[in-house]
Amino acid sequence: MLTRTLARLSWVDLILRVFQIIAAIVIVIGIVNVFRSNTYTSNQWATLVFAGLAQGSIYALIALGYTLVYGILLMINFAHGEVYMAGAFSTVFLAGYFSNTGFLQSSPILAIIIMIIFAAAVSTAIALLLERIAYRPLRNAPRLIPLITAIGASFTLQYTFRGLYGAEFKSYPQVPALSGTVNVIGFDVPLVQLVVFFAAVGLMIALYLYVERTKSGKAMRAVSEDKDVARLMGIDIDRVIVTTFALGGALAGAAGVFNGLFRPQGVFFFMGFFPGIKAFTAAVLGGIGNIPGAMIGGLMLGLIESLGPNSIVEGLGIPSANQLKDAIAFSVLVLILIYRPQGIFGERLAEKKA
């Protein structure tokens, strides 16, 4: 029995297994060192947790766009980061206008809701254009081709925005109403983080209810299982695909505004790239194609990114650990792809390819 198992184990498996064990040991050593040295107070840890949750909920919203489209078309829409950028970038001007006229100060809730709707509308429009122009003509092409098209579309969008609005950084105005802190179970948490987190979770719940309860949500799930049988039921596949892109776009646009509230700086034409890839990581982490998976994956990635530098990397004696956030996020992507490509909640990919 044991010898048979050993015989089946290739040297690649062996190396991967050894690497996995080493990685686990390194992570444990890092964590133990940090906690033994008591570098941070519980208040500081709480700050990291809440910042991580807020950031993670933004990742989750973007990740849903990847996962929804993958669920229906088995295609990764790598231009989705730009869909997010389009919403976030366009709304910077509206936000500036609201701030200058005093509308943002006098009725912040209404102003922010209008900004979210505007960003969602812009992102949805971009997502629908992408679907119509870049992806629909390639629906029956080999899977690699729309992937390359997505990268091309991504550059097109980036440089269109650069051409229109220039390459310099813009920033969202400060919202005075969101600048305070709130006491949550004894910790001071910036209000903006709580607002972003709960608003994002609210949108996710709304999406979940739409997909689970409504007729068109059920049709969406039916299409993701079997397109031909769905057509026999009278479901218009093209309409479902358009709805899917629209939903993903709207969530990405909302995420753009949340990001602007949470982190006002850094609005420019390339701003969609990293959040895009990280949200893709989150979607893979949760299991691509799985809606709750994208939500949990996003929150987990936000937490890992926020807590990772201080809890693991620093304990290993690596200086300026906070600059390694991105490295940690992408290490997560590599590790999942090697050890658990189906993600936390996903089924085996091969099953869906047929």
Partner: protein
């Protein structure tokens, strides 16, 4: 005018000429069966009628109206529903959601609830499993889901592709009884079957297909005693 008329259709898979001029008619209220070996074109014929495949030549008319012009998702609005080969239940949808999808082409409130109750009367087992994911059901239960789902569209014409495939013989009898019952309630049935004997025992008429062509067309009684049919499809020498 016949309810369904398939006139000389030629359907291709890429370059493979799968149907070489099939013509069949189905009158309202009938059960008509297509029998034949694997690859004879039975499933392809059904898929062409339902709009999933488009013929390069020939037409399909329902009450005289050409339905080849409609996309697959529009054909069901004309009153044609299909139970696909291998059942094709939505595995990750519950039994209830599968039935709701069957009624997708209908407006909300047009008696969908009552029809669902009728399905549960026809298949009491499904009511017990109403909240269960269809993928967790047995093959026989999945066949019930697929049949009930198609009926939820209130079709005038029901296309059934190999309903007995992969089922235990004891269940097969039940399936064919149900088909008869559905037919007596007023639904016309076009049935594709490998199990020719069973199919002919409930059908009014039958067509024998061979490599994409109709080779024999006759009443079910005559087909049962036809020598060629007996040798090739009924296993009688």
């Amino acid at each position: 005018m016949a309810m369904l008329e398939v006139n000389d259709i030629h359907t291709y898979y890429g370059n493979i000429h799968a149907l070489k001029g099939i013509s069949i008619t189905v009158e309202e209220g009938e059960i008509v069966t297509l029998i034949g070996a694997n690859g004879a074109g039975k499933t392809t014929t059904l898929r062409t009628i339902s709009g999933l495949l488009k013929p390069r030549q020939g037409n399909v008319t329902l009450w005289g109206e050409d339905i080849v012009q409609y996309a697959a998702h529009e054909v069901v609005f004309q009153g044609v529903a299909m139970v696909p080969e291998g059942r094709g239940v939505f595995a990750k949808l519950s039994v209830k959601e599968n039935l709701e999808m069957g009624a997708y082409s209908r407006k909300a409130g047009s008696g969908i609830r009552q029809d669902m109750d009728r399905m549960f009367a026809l298949f009491p087992r499904l009511e017990e499993r109403i909240g269960q994911l269809a993928g967790t059901l047995s093959g026989g239960e999945q066949q019930m889901v697929a049949t009930a789902r198609a009926l939820m569209a209130r079709p005038k014409l029901l296309l059934m592709d190999e309903p007995s495939m992969g089922l235990a013989p004891i269940l097969v009898d039940g399936i064919f009884d149900t088909i008869k019952e559905i037919n007596q309630e007023g639904t016309t049935v076009l049935l594709v079957e490998q199990n020719a004997l069973m199919a002919l025992s409930i059908a009014n008429r039958g067509y024998v297909l061979q490599t994409g062509e109709v080779v024999i067309s006759d009443s079910a009684e005559n087909l049962k005693v036809n020598e060629t049919v007996q040798k090739a499809y009924l296993g009688i020498d």
